[in-house]
Symmetry: C2
Subunit: 170 residues, 2 copies
């Protein structure tokens, strides 16, 4: 099965992000607005079952945190993606590193930069247009992050929740 | 916020169901194949937080179970919906009743009949056509159900997982 691990920001942030994704993100129908923590990887269901207690342990030992998003950024020319950048990346990077340690066969494709995608697979012209119109915009969004979600992918490419893991309350 | 509670059957069942939903279910992009346990209801986020421990308690005291689906059925003329009917409905009805008790302001619209929708909002002609071609088909699908999921709905009508609740292992 194909699995992935993601954070979902709170609904008020998701609704704003979706207003852009609807036009600029071909994955709009496959998954809700999210911050990828572990990119798509393949693992047998039984192997995953043996990892669940480790994920629970990580969640239990990780404090909930609040993320702040003010500005758009992009990954061009590496990837034609526009995203909301996360001001305080440390807690997300820490979570990523801990989870990645449990998945030793899983090699990430890119360096890990936490981000909330608002558009991807865009033409170069479109990317420059959209980035040009959004780059001066100040978003001032915050979201509590108090859980992460293990997801699996269906044949039609959409993602379904397998299990949510609650972080420690502060 | 709008919440709902659902069971997701295992992936092999979801992929088969989606092969029909893609053509016949306008909610195909809003949520993965599921069995609704509690229909959409409105509740403040803080009120929901106070219900979570009750849901956890119900999950902890409910045995995991396996569902079996062999035949399609429909809700016409009440509703132009075609679904896979569940052979052994008792554990799902029991879960529904327990969860409903915690939501005393929530009045279900219909009698609760556990089902896995494969098409809805169909024209009468289409419904009869599709039902006519599927009614003699034997599906022989089974799925373990070892968790339920509390979901919330975004402005764009799609559903996001809020929290998963693990049933007792047998």
């Amino acid at each position: 099965m194909y699995f992935g691990i993601a954070l979902f920001p709170q609904q008020h942030v998701q609704d704003i992000v979706n207003s852009y994704r609807k036009r600029y993100d071909p994955h709009y129908n496959f998954i809700a607005p999210h911050i990828t923590i572990i990119e798509k990887f393949e693992l047998g269901e039984n192997e995953m079952l043996s990892l669940i207690p480790k994920f629970e342990e990580i969640a239990k030992n990780t404090d909930s945190f609040t993320i702040e998003m003010k500005k758009v950024s992009h990954f061009f020319p590496t990837s034609p993606t526009i995203y909301l950048s996360i001001e305080n990346q440390e807690p997300i990077i820490h979570l990523h590193q801990q989870l990645l340690k449990e998945l030793d066969s899983h090699k990430p494709t890119y360096d890990f930069i936490p981000h909330l995608t608002i558009g991807q697979k865009m033409s170069e012209d479109e990317l420059h247009d959209v980035y040009g119109s959004l780059r001066m915009h100040s978003f001032a969004l915050t979201s509590l992050i108090d859980r992460f979600h293990l997801l699996y992918q269906l044949e039609n490419k959409s993602w379904v929740n397998y299990q949510s893991f609650l972080l420690k309350k502060r």
